[in-house]
Symmetry: C2
Subunit: 584 residues, 2 copies
């Protein structure tokens, strides 16, 4: 029970002093003090490690990708008994939450990136980086096949085969076009630095095109019609940034454009920002209306030609309408990368849409492969699947019934192994499983409770409804990376002293505590120095103060002092000189 109490005390303090929450966020620089850890097998042998390059005693860890998850793993890895190979087509880490700012020049692309070699340079761990892209994962032989996209004439050797003892897959996701015709060809995406740079050039190009002589008003309006598809945080932030860019900077230089420019935000559901609190959604929708951003909800895109975008209303009999555009930015959701799809087929996950891992981030069916970040989801174990095993383990005297005492002994292990149990109790305002049993078994006196398997099953039957997939955010990926690094750091120690919960379907304990996500809040910048923030404990803040909170959090979360200084100076430049509109 200690844990629940701590949580409640924390939660109360938080609610009573919202400013404390602010402080907490501001000073939480890294993914932050997780108290959950994981198990990992250590039976990987040494295969085909090149002895000339690497100490043969060291285990080789191959990390694919240099995004949030991979970089967080590398930053937190401190056990020098590994030989680490990082393979990624990008030799830098990009602070993606600032990508929408890059599209409009509020922040320069180079200010939000840090070379991965710089990040790992001063570590006590051997880390080598190769700029290449993995195109095949051979789990059976513990090899990954990579290809370098760098120019040059080393064609004969462009394929690189790397052996691993442990593989960490953190390749992220791709933008999802949902196979809608014309999306891939005609839309801009917003996942990579290059995407943001391209969008920036295209915005300026549109304004230049609209300034050419001999255009009709209609053509000018068409060129200056910017469409954003997807009302999630990225799409909303981009639309808001674009609106600021246009009204604060571009109209000064392109006075004629003022009347013609139009921004449309398309969203298939009824509201934008629907993962946020309703107050935030309402505020955002009102603000966009005031700003003149054309909000079209309940409309699905069905086709995009090079000139027009066709939408179909979700309700009202599915009325189809078409509008011409100058630029479309597609920001609807993510999909699985081809290399992961192939890998899933090989390991028997071919019928799934996303790569599944267990709660320790191990890919299901592959002992020495871990997957984190947007490329995987944690396939949480259901209580109902294990209910019999749990009952057997708890019922130490094999009496066929559980007493309160027996129950309390396994309680914390159950809550740790199946976090949905804790969430369920919290949502029902119960303090312990005993309450739950009491609740389901009527008015029996607490001391005398003794339940059989069927009653136990009934009591826990609703628990699994609390299970939710984690959102595909930078925050989750970063926490997973640092969690996994921590497991790797203490691999041997925890081998001897396992710290995880009881194995209900086996002997002994799990080596590590399972991964537990700690939500630190989320921002939705709405333009005009207004930001909505939703912090833990349903604390919602909207307005200028949240904008400053946003500035502080993002500045503090940046990966290095260099990027921190650059981003802050970029903000300063923007305040003083505005955003640049050169076509480069």
């Amino acid at each position: 029970m200690r844990k629940m109490t701590v949580f409640q005390r924390f939660s109360r303090t938080f609610r009573d002093n919202p400013s404390l929450g602010k402080m907490l966020i501001v000073f939480t620089v890294s993914g932050g003090g997780l108290v959950a850890y994981s198990e990992a097998k250590a039976d990987g042998g040494i295969h085909a490690v090149n002895p000339s390059e690497v100490d043969v005693k060291k285990k080789r860890v191959v990390v694919l990708g240099t995004g949030w998850a991979g970089t967080s793993f590398l930053k937190n890895l401190s056990n020098s008994s590994y030989d680490v190979q990082v393979i990624s087509p990008r030799n830098f880490f990009a602070f993606t939450p600032l990508l929408p700012s890059v599209t409009c020049g509020t922040v320069e692309p180079r200010s939000i990136v840090e070379p991965i070699r710089n990040i790992v340079r001063k570590k006590n761990v051997d880390v080598h980086y190769w700029e290449a892209e993995c195109f095949n994962i051979d789990a059976a032989n513990k090899k990954v096949y990579c290809r370098s996209h760098l120019g040059g004439d080393v064609n004969s050797k462009e394929e690189i085969i790397v052996d691993y003892d442990y593989l960490v897959i953190s390749v992220g996701a791709r933008s999802n076009t949902f196979n809608i015709p014309g999306v891939a060809e005609n839309c801009h995406f917003l996942k990579e630095i290059e995407d943001a740079q391209k969008i920036r050039r295209t915005i300026v190009d549109c304004f230049e095109r609209a300034s050419l002589p001999n255009l009709s008003d209609e053509e000018r309006k068409k060129i200056l019609h910017f469409v954003v598809v997807g009302g999630g945080p990225t799409g909303v932030e981009f639309a808001a940034e674009l609106h600021d860019y246009v009204t604060e900077d571009l109209v000064k230089l392109y006075p004629k454009a003022k009347e013609a420019v139009k921004i449309t935000l398309l969203e298939a559901t009824d509201h934008i920002l629907n993962m946020f609190d309703k107050r935030i959604t309402a505020f955002a929708e009102e603000k966009f209306q005031r700003d003149g951003i054309n909000l079209k909800t309940g409309a699905m895109v069905v086709n995009i030609s090079d000139k027009e975008i066709t939408t179909k209303e979700v309700k009202n009999g599915g009325a189809v309408s078409t509008m011409p555009y100058g630029m479309v930015v597609w920001s609807t959701g993510i999909g699985t990368r081809p290399v992961i799809m192939d890998f899933m087929k090989h390991i028997g996950q071919g019928n799934r849409r996303v790569l599944a891992t267990d709660e320790w981030l191990r890919v299901e069916g592959c002992d020495s492969i871990y997957a984190l970040g947007d490329c995987a989801t944690i396939n949480q174990r259901k209580v109902m699947e294990d209910i019999w095993a749990i009952f057997r383990k708890a019922d130490k005297d094999n009496s066929g019934t559980l007493t309160v005492k027996e129950f309390q002994e396994v309680l914390s292990d159950i809550c740790e192994r199946y976090p949905q149990v804790g969430l369920y109790l919290k949502s029902r305002q119960m303090k312990s499983l005993v309450d739950l049993l009491k609740d389901s078994s009527g008015d029996a006196v607490k001391e005398s409770i003794e339940v059989n398997l069927e009653e136990f099953k009934l009591a826990l039957s609703q628990v699994d409804s609390q299970m939710k997939n984690l959102p595909a955010t930078a925050q989750v990926a970063a926490q997973q990376g640092s969690y996994l690094a921590d497991c790797f750091n203490r691999m041997e120690k925890c081998e001897n002293n396992p710290e995880g919960p009881l194995r209900f379907r086996g002997e002994g304990r799990h080596r590590f505590r399972p991964f537990r996500y700690k939500h630190l809040g989320q921002f939705a910048p709405l333009g005009g120095e207004q930001t909505a923030a939703q912090l833990p404990g349903d604390w919602v803040s909207i307005g200028r103060s949240s904008q400053w909170l946003w500035y502080s959090v993002y500045a503090s979360k940046l990966v290095s002092w260099r990027t921190r200084a650059l981003v802050i100076s970029d903000w300063g430049r923007r305040f003083i000189f505005g955003r640049d509109s050169s076509g480069i």
Copy 2:
């Protein structure tokens, strides 16, 4: 004589107090107080000006290009009686002397550009900008034909035809490949912002490629062999910047590369920087040797394949040798753009290599077309061509001989119309033409000199040897731009009160003084915080102090306070954090 005296006094002050020169340079923010002006005809009528957009009474000036010459013209134009159309494929002005710094990330590309719309925004002159490229100049009908390269579907209207009353051609030059096979396909150039960005990415790519596994030492050396062709200021500065980038920043992140990297500078003549003082050349060559930059002079490039560069020695029987490379930067010289070549054919200059203008920057043979900057040269009038007309004009009493009095009356006009006369006198340390006549006519008493045409011819026969083409530098282009703007500003005033020299082959005076270039000095940054500076009066400074002079001059010359602040903060960033090596 007044003018010579001023010059000499200035020159003496300068030599006695070199620090004064420094101050002068530091505080000379713009192209600087020229005292020479030009004539321009004002007979252009109004053709096909679109009356809905433009006040029909205003004369339409079309400016092609937004480089040094065009932008300097626009910045200095202040007469609101013109309607100005600027047409250029780049919607910004780039401070090109800092391009070599951009190649290595010492300065960010965006810091050295300023949108042309921003530059002309607050002017009292109507200036419109169109992002398009001129592909045909029709001097007969006073029209230019342009094409927009902006994407989009306005194909049917991509061709834009613009009428002009005055045309200002300032499209600059292209890089000259001298038709050497493989240069266009395999080399990087260094003329545009995009070139510098590409070079930067390629440098980092080369280092990443060289870090891939399974490469032989030989292949690694080949990939890290950077070749710079051309020992002029740009090539030398790039080689020096690259050396600094490698030794100060890249070797920290790519420790294995240290031994393999090699920089080679190829120059066809015997020395690099041969337009500079010999002391500077010697210092630069020594410094490069110390730095380990491989200097290969007297070697012409004859072929460049995708892997190797073939050179031929100019002396020693033309020995041919071949070396593999990772990247080649081509920085040898400039050539005429195709649109100007076509234009030259149409106006009868087809047999020339460069477009010729007169001393007032008017294209020869076209009254209302001006050409400035790198796309044209001033075809200076020879004294010998006009010697008879000069004699006739001076000999007012038609006596067939010139007296001292007659002579002194036309003296300043001769010096102004034919600047080579002044240079000749200066080089011979003579104070006036009278000295020259004395010199050539022996010991005749000054007062009694009276020369006939033949004697006069003889005295001036060596004068034309002083004629030199102006260098293709930003300094010349900027001075020409501001000179021409000044002429346009005072067009009407000077129509009534011509201020130019006597017309020797006609009646009256020229409307404006001819363009006169004022050399303010030149820098050659040599890396490692060492710069060579050659200032007027043969004042040479080499070392750290010149580097600071360089910083101050370049900072002060930047086009706006925004770019000034950005470049200075970029320098600061570099000092603190080093240069970035992300592959973006």
